[in-house]
């Protein structure tokens, strides 16, 4: 369990970066780190003996999984702050983080089986982390379904509640899935390893890749929030104009 917390704490450092960078600078830094990450993955990182080249999916797969978890954690925090402070800014963060979280979640659910197929021989094994990702995907798609319409404070409040409940449910789902999975036979070859058994070179590539993904996440968050805010401002403007025409 401590592995998760260390990563989460490391990831916490990123919000401060988000605040001090302006948009263009942020975009350039993100592109550079992403290119560096890719070069590292394909040129520098040694190919794993057992799994061969297909192990390289690991870098993008696990870093997008961590970004997804961070996104849903951010949704939970933003929802709590929105319910408490009732300020729209937190609500836009929750909505944008949720949407980007679902995008990353879909990526994880696609690359997971793609990686599992050559190693385990099956597209899908009810592995705790994969099942948990699937359930999270269901919960947060419901979250987005709840937010489809235009800006309505009541709906935003319901979605905030679901955001909190969804995240509080994660450890419970993980525990129950883990208990449930012990009844199923373990996968044949290698259990989908976390970061254990990584050589130092791989670890470095993975970290760079993680940094690149987080920068990407914050860039997308910034974009998505400006879309929400400008759409909101648009409505207010349109309303004022109608007001003036009528008045």
């Amino acid at each position: 369990m401590q592995k998760w917390w260390t990563i989460m704490l490391f990831v916490m450092a990123f919000p401060c970066i988000y605040l001090c960078m302006n948009r263009v600078f942020h975009a350039t830094v993100m592109c550079i780190t992403m290119n560096v990450a890719i070069m590292l993955i394909f040129l520098y990182a040694p190919t794993e003996k057992m799994q061969g080249i297909v192990q390289k999916i690991f870098y993008f797969h696990v870093s997008s999984a961590i970004t997804m978890f961070f996104a849903f954690f951010l949704v939970c925090v933003a929802s709590i702050m929105y319910l408490w402070k009732n300020s729209d800014w937190w609500d836009t963060i929750a909505l944008s983080a949720a949407e980007i979280g679902v995008v990353f979640c879909t990526l994880v659910l696609i690359t997971g089986p793609l990686w599992a197929r050559p190693i385990w021989g099956t597209w899908w094994s009810w592995d705790p982390t994969l099942t948990l990702t699937l359930v999270l995907w269901l919960i947060y798609v419901a979250y987005l379904m709840l937010r489809i319409e235009t800006y309505d404070p009541k709906r935003a409040r319901f979605a905030a509640i679901l955001g909190i409940i969804g995240f509080v449910d994660v450890p419970l789902i993980r525990w129950s899935v883990e208990k449930w999975r012990t009844l199923h036979p373990k996968p044949v070859l290698i259990q989908e390893g976390g970061t254990t058994g990584l050589t130092s070179a791989m670890l470095l590539t993975f970290l760079v890749c993680l940094v690149a993904f987080l920068l990407l996440f914050f860039y997308l968050l910034r974009e998505r929030m400006s879309v929400v805010q400008s759409r909101h401002a648009l409505e207010v403007l349109r309303h004022d104009i109608d007001e003036l025409c009528v008045g």
């Binding site: 080249i53 999916i57 990407l216 879309v227 403007l237």
Partner: protein, 49 residues
Amino acid sequence: MKNFWYLFAAYSIIWTALCVYMIRLSQKNKELQVELRNLRAQLERILTK
């Protein structure tokens, strides 16, 4: 190099998905900014009238 296609598929999917999402976002953003500018101009015109 036997599972190369899985690797290629995974990375191409990730890349296309992220790029499509980013492009759609920035397009929507630009569109909204333009509309916002027009509406603000319209508001000015009404106020000055």
